[in-house]
Symmetry: C2
Subunit: 273 residues, 2 copies
Amino acid sequence: MNRQQLIEQIKTKKSFLCVGLDTDLKKIPQHLLDDEDPIFTFNKAVIDATAPYCVAYKPNLAFYEAFGIKGMVAFEKTVDYLKAHCPDHFVIADAKRGDIGNTSAMYARTFFGEYDIDALTVAPYMGEDSVSPFLTYDGKWVVLLALTSNKGSHDFQLTADAGGERLFEKVLRVSRQWGDADNMMYVVGATQGKMFSDIRRIVPDHFLLVPGVGAQGGSLHEVCRYGMTDDCGLLVNSSRGIIYASQGDDFAEAAAKAAHELQQEMAAELAAR
Amino acid sequence: MNRQQLIEQIKTKKSFLCVGLDTDLKKIPQHLLDDEDPIFTFNKAVIDATAPYCVAYKPNLAFYEAFGIKGMVAFEKTVDYLKAHCPDHFVIADAKRGDIGNTSAMYARTFFGEYDIDALTVAPYMGEDSVSPFLTYDGKWVVLLALTSNKGSHDFQLTADAGGERLFEKVLRVSRQWGDADNMMYVVGATQGKMFSDIRRIVPDHFLLVPGVGAQGGSLHEVCRYGMTDDCGLLVNSSRGIIYASQGDDFAEAAAKAAHELQQEMAAELAAR
């Protein structure tokens, strides 16, 4: 999916919600465990329920890998289901990969070639040749970690160099040269508040993928105030707040309700701009 | 495997060689492609041939994931084979993972809980809570990226802060507090030459996992000169130089020969200390 198509989807749906499919067998309704493939059954129900309110889905690979081959089968089935039933939704594999060139090229082949996913999260630590192999696929996106939502983001990402430039700012400034706003996005945690202003000074046009609203405590309004652009420029992710809104039989309706509430907040933010 | 056991293996075998199992269907002898599971068949032959000369194996997850479910089955079979037939070899999953706490905990469960692998490579960008979940498994190791072997390592890892401390040095200094020399190692590329002296000032006792000898151009002698400790303190990896030493029917003998040559160089370095 290209940038213009994504922007159109956001306008049409009045939503920039990304639903994180961090599906954990320990947290899904226990009656699903009798199912042949409980992870996929859960995902399918959540997708069917939330699709009208979101523009993107983000399965987190860790949750699938944790269940070995069965987990990866569930991941593939989920991706296939999204491609067949939600062709207008943007699909992000949250895998935070990044390795030397020939290895990153293998990961790119997996996620873009085999799975045909729209975007992949990538870690910047190893520099340009660890990222550029992902930028050679037409219509595919790198979502590079910049300023993450967790406490440990302060350990290295905020370290300033002699000129006062912080590491996340250097990552933004330097990596901006590797691709452009049509094939790169950045991860910026919702917990980072006013930092969005600093980020917009460096990447005024790039989309930002924003985790941390909900369970991690970030404010949607703050994110929009400092991070929204004329093209929206935001994909705000919620995982646990939606998919585990209820752990009972009504999990899908509860997920729909939680997604709808976020979508309505988003519609208001878009209208207010 | 604990630190003392690893040191004993190095002394017994006069080797600190790690063989990287970066198995690519495009590069293995083409007659193996008729096999039911060519990746595992190749790995098994390479393992059998090289086991006397090395103390560790490092399958790189990217190469297995690239072949989807079949690739992951081959990975699991390889790990099971190593555990059954090479119980004295240290097994490192080269996956370069790292995510927010609850996600890293899932990865830890996969690699240490499910696969029972000795060590996992982890990326430091997201800080302490992205790494610490991997340090809660007894006898298991985090191998944290510090100064990598690729060209892009210069993009961010060498950035100095106002006090002159470079990012890789800060990663070493700060992360030293998260674990100790019994459960943490660091990735330092063989291409980094004299930087090993700077690294040893910060982590005098930790083991270093050193890629980049061979195909990437690093010198074993330089690595040993500046990086070796009284306990050896090094695991030097070679992947392509060993497993693709020949692409003919004699690939296993050629791998054994390449591994044996490196082991002899290593024995000389150990004796010279």
